[in-house]
Symmetry: C2
């Protein structure tokens, strides 16, 4: 197959992310969001909030990373953050998905995109740390703005949110500090268990 | 208001793009796509297809441009490509939207994002030319893959598609040449009027 044919096949395969639903409601609370919308939102945040990263980051690389980071969910599905059974098998399912999906691309690009995903998963570079922080802060902002419905639905506690965000300050202390009063407010309002 | 507060307000305002529906169906034909999904898809295409641009492009700048290019539709709405009455008032509605929406951001970022949007609209830089080409090629790929439903719904002709794409080869001859047989195929299948 020609190089461009492979690229287009990957791009059309990626379209399936528009059908992978997350547990987070969009800001107006009218429905849950999907992986494509979520990834767009992270890339936008990356471009606009890069100045708040703890360390200087390569913005382009981080945007590419967040644009691709959920591609593996086309096969593996979205595993809800507070689903512990699902999280036990998550890594295995996602590795298998990565093998299939990224290899729709020409070899050099498959390696590049796999590299972006591995980097995101390992969370060891400034770019990956910031990308992971955005991936946690975005649903927090949406959960707060949509009235905490997703937290109430799943009976989530403040402690679970704090534990889940143990590494969020590593990408941006500033963004994490912005989230703390939002969490407190949602405890007060009864959206998060105290 | 603090700098970060303004940035977050803009990011939550942007969330409304998830509710701006386009006329293009997603690849599996199950429903139409929205601006957030469309913008994500363009940014992904930009990262993966930049090698096919006629001229070298700054990939990061072009990704940022496509991520933001439809923000004005939050106020102005999506104007369907083949709606001529809508297209008469489009520019005025979009300029008014740009004045409100981009100015939610801190001044320096408002100027930057407005600059990206103006550049996209003017289509005079290699980045803007490629971004505009992607903005035309993506719905074409989706219309073809979803069986031409959107074209049939609106009674679109081959000639309208060709006219609408007069400038598409300016961003990438290679991508436009990829689209030509798809158009011919959809005429043959009766999805586009001959
Ligand atoms: Ca995820």
């Amino acid at each position: 197959m020609e190089r461009l044919d492979k690229q287009i096949e990957f791009i059309l395969e990626a379209d399936k992310e528009k059908n992978i639903m997350r547990q987070t409601y969009i800001a107006d609370g009218s429905r849950k969001e999907n992986d494509a919308e979520h990834s767009w939102h992270l890339a936008l945040m990356c471009y606009l909030l890069a100045e708040h990263a703890n360390e200087p980051i390569d913005v382009a690389r981080t945007m590419a990373m967040v644009l691709m980071h959920d591609m593996i969910e086309i096969d593996a599905g979205d595993t809800y953050a507070y689903d512990s059974a699902g999280n036990d098998t998550k890594r295995e399912r996602e590795l298998k998905a990565a093998e299939r999906i990224f290899h729709l691309l020409p070899e050099d690009q498959a390696a590049d995109v796999r590299g972006l995903w591995d980097e995101f998963e390992e969370g060891k570079t400034p770019e990956a740390r910031f990308a992971n922080t955005l991936d946690k802060v975005q649903p927090l902002l949406l959960n707060d703005r949509s009235g905490g419905e997703s937290w109430r639905e799943h009976g989530v506690s403040q402690e679970q949110v704090i534990r889940r965000n143990a590494r969020t300050p590593e990408g941006s202390r500033k963004l994490w500090e912005y989230c703390l009063p939002l969490i407190a407010k949602n405890v007060k309002e009864g959206n998060l268990k105290p």
